[in-house]
Symmetry: C2
Subunit: 233 residues, 2 copies
DNA sequence: ACTCAATAATTGGTTAACCAGTTCCTAATG
DNA sequence: CATTAGGAACTGGTTAACCAATTATTGAGT
């Protein structure tokens, strides 16, 4: 049936098409929460695509909580009504890869919160890990080496200490992409790093002292320095 | 090789184990950014698991930006150094399903930002969609029907109008889970909804008037009402 | 010895056959 | 007629064989 290997974007478009088809089918058959979807085999035949692609599309909708597959039984519409289902699928289909500005904006939002929560909730173990990341960062910078990774790990340690696993996850999702972009646009090269040491230390101390206001303030200053180098990309 | 069907949690544990094995292998062989991982077949043989499971683990690491698979060529270590790689994988392995409190906390954080951004950036088309969601909500509430879905769609419309695709994505991720929990704990039943209409209208008007401060304030009030019913879960 | 085309081996991606539960229908029994 | 074993058909999950593109190897020609 399939003749050639698809590129990733082609594959992505096909998946979108399948998702839209599933939505149409749900509407056509007036499927409600708990109702069973046609089997993967029937869907693949109906949409003229391989069963594997149908599976991937279903798994994506499962990721967003719209479907649920039960082994040896079937795939079921989640406990979300028709209206929400349509609205969410429309949004999912329209989603595009985030631009750099969105990423930075989101990172700042998340970190100004995680740093406050970390100041409130950090455990002794959190402090140990943050301290380790911080010293690894300082050491590399003083040696004149690139320390983007260590920088990142310090920020991730804060996210972990926030005790909010949602925000922690989201930080993990956006961080690699931010690093890649930083490297691509050659921001955060030498010079910025030395200042970064002091700023990191200040943030750490505020968290250690359980002073959320100060922690947030120091993080803001830290980002202000980044802004100057990064924002007009 | 495999004898029985795994439950989802078992499968999840196996995947974690594979990811840890891949990390160990990267450390053992001192693989650096751009280096090639052993082939999927070799990994599956080495770890004594099926190739499909190896594939899923690789795809997960690809999702987090740590690996990159190139067809007919190989799987490569992303442009992230050894230190960051280890730190991130450790975090990924420790990640657990977010508790309800984390979800609510994150939702509030995101929405207090998206509502401000929406007030600044909303287009005419955004207004039309928000208005539609708002009226669908009002109509259902006045009929005494459950309107959780319409409520949600209004908030998602705001996220879309924020023009930040990262935050939009994150809202889409956490929203279904929040709805499920709301339904489970029977929060936001009758009574709250009527108040919700006015609050939604106020938020919409602030966005329409491009008044970010007011929009945020109204959203805060909206959540305050939710707090009373939801926070002690 | 060196170059480079031909070929064999290897790669991630894809597909079809298979597996073990589940579901639904049937027919035998009370 | 109602009930319930029994089995056939169907389900999502899994596996092994297959595909085309890439990469490594080889060997003939200069």
């Amino acid at each position: 049936m399939k003749l050639d290997i698809l590129t990733k974007t082609e594959n992505f478009d096909v998946q979108k098409h399948i998702i839209a088809s599933i939505r149409d089918l749900i509407n056509l058959k007036n499927l409600e929460p708990g109702d069973k979807l046609p089997s993967e085999r029937m869907l693949s035949e109906r949409f003229n695509v391989s069963r594997g692609l149908v599976r991937e599309a279903i798994q994506k909708l499962e990721f967003y909580g719209l479907l649920e597959s039960i082994p040896q039984s079937g795939t079921f519409v989640a406990n979300i009504g028709v209206i929400a289902m349509n609205g969410m699928i429309e949004d999912i289909l329209r989603l595009e890869a985030p631009d750099f500005k969105s990423l930075v904006e989101t990172r700042i939002l998340l970190e100004l919160k995680t740093v406050r929560l970390a100041a409130l909730r950090r455990t002794e173990d959190d402090l140990v890990q943050m301290k380790a990341a911080l010293e690894a960062f300082s050491k590399k910078v003083r040696n004149g080496e690139d320390a983007v990774q260590e920088d990142l790990l310090f920020h991730l340690a804060i996210a972990k200490a926030s005790g909010n696993s949602s925000m922690n996850t989201f930080m993990l999702i956006i961080t690699p992409e931010i690093i890649t972009n930083f490297a691509k646009y050659h921001v955060c090269d030498k010079g910025v790093a030395e200042i970064g040491i002091e700023e990191h230390n200040a943030i750490f101390k505020a968290i250690e002292d359980q002073n959320p206001q100060l922690a947030k303030k120091k993080m803001k200053e830290h980002f202000k320095e980044l802004y100057k180098y990064c924002y007009n990309v």
